[in-house]
Amino acid sequence: MKELDQELREALGRREAPSGFEERVLARIQREQTRAARPVPVPWWRGFRFPALALAAALLLLAVGGISVQRYRQSQETARGQKAREQVLLALRITGQKLVFARNKVLDHTLSESREEGR
């Protein structure tokens, strides 16, 4: 046991760090500090100092967005309704014109028959 103890102490004696180790550690610290000092662009939504304000702003945006969507849909429906109305009116106008045309045809025919009978 004593022999193994001594062998282990000799085998596991302290090794020297590689040459330049100190400089490499200091250089790495310098690099990390330089990286940390660089300003990181902050997204606009991270600009709020207080989470509650950020939440309120988000809710307001949602509400405004929601109202806008609703109004848009209403205006779309109105436009669709208007278009349908115009189409109906057009159809009625066409039908009316055709009816007038047909009536005139009938009248013309009746008049011409009466003239022939009167001879």
Partner: protein, 173 residues
């Protein structure tokens, strides 16, 4: 410790670089990995220096952090699987004849121990720490430290003692 200024840190780096590198090296048996790990330890020291209260605290902290990082690193690399202690051939020369390679073989055997046992052996024989100090550093009960050490020494002794057996007995194993 004082405010942890750059001068103080540099002094500590100069004073303890060999200890930290050596623990990592004997644990990992890889100079490049040991240096990288040792650099990481000192980087962390730089950040945490304000939390340390005395020079003794710094030493204890360095040993603890180096051991824990070494254990994590070794587990990630699965070094034990790569070099199982049973795969390491015992020294080929009888113990009575000084073998310059015996120390190297012993280091290899130590590096192939299970991680926690390896840490106990390195702290015991490189840093010459008492068992209760090792228990504090590694965060394990004293009984567990003793058990790890006993088992490790048994394994190492068994491997090393094979070199003293006569050649005829080699085939009987």
């Amino acid at each position: 410790m004082t405010g942890g200024g750059p001068g103080e840190f540099t002094d500590l780096l100069r004073e303890h670089q060999h200890m930290v590198f050596s623990i990592a090296y004997h644990f990992l048996r890889d100079r490049a990995a040991a240096e990288e790990l040792a650099q990481d330890v000192f980087l962390q020291l730089y950040k945490d220096l304000n939390k340390l209260e005395s020079p003794a605290h710094v030493v204890a902290w360095l040993r603890k952090v180096t051991c824990h990082r070494s254990i994590d690193f070794a587990r990630r690399r699965k070094q034990r699987a790569e070099t199982n202690i049973d795969e390491v051939a015992p020294p080929s020369v009888a113990a009575s004849v000084p073998d310059p390679l015996a120390s190297e073989k012993l280091r290899k055997l130590v590096a192939s121990l299970p991680e926690k046992a390896r840490a106990v052996v390195v702290l015991r024989y490189q840093e010459e720490m008492e068992l209760h100090e090792i228990a504090g550093t590694l965060g394990m009960p004293l009984g567990t430290v003793k058990s790890h050490l006993q088992r490790a020494l048994g394994l190492l002794r068994e491997k090393m003692s094979r070199a003293t057996q006569p050649p005829a007995m080699e085939g009987m194993r």
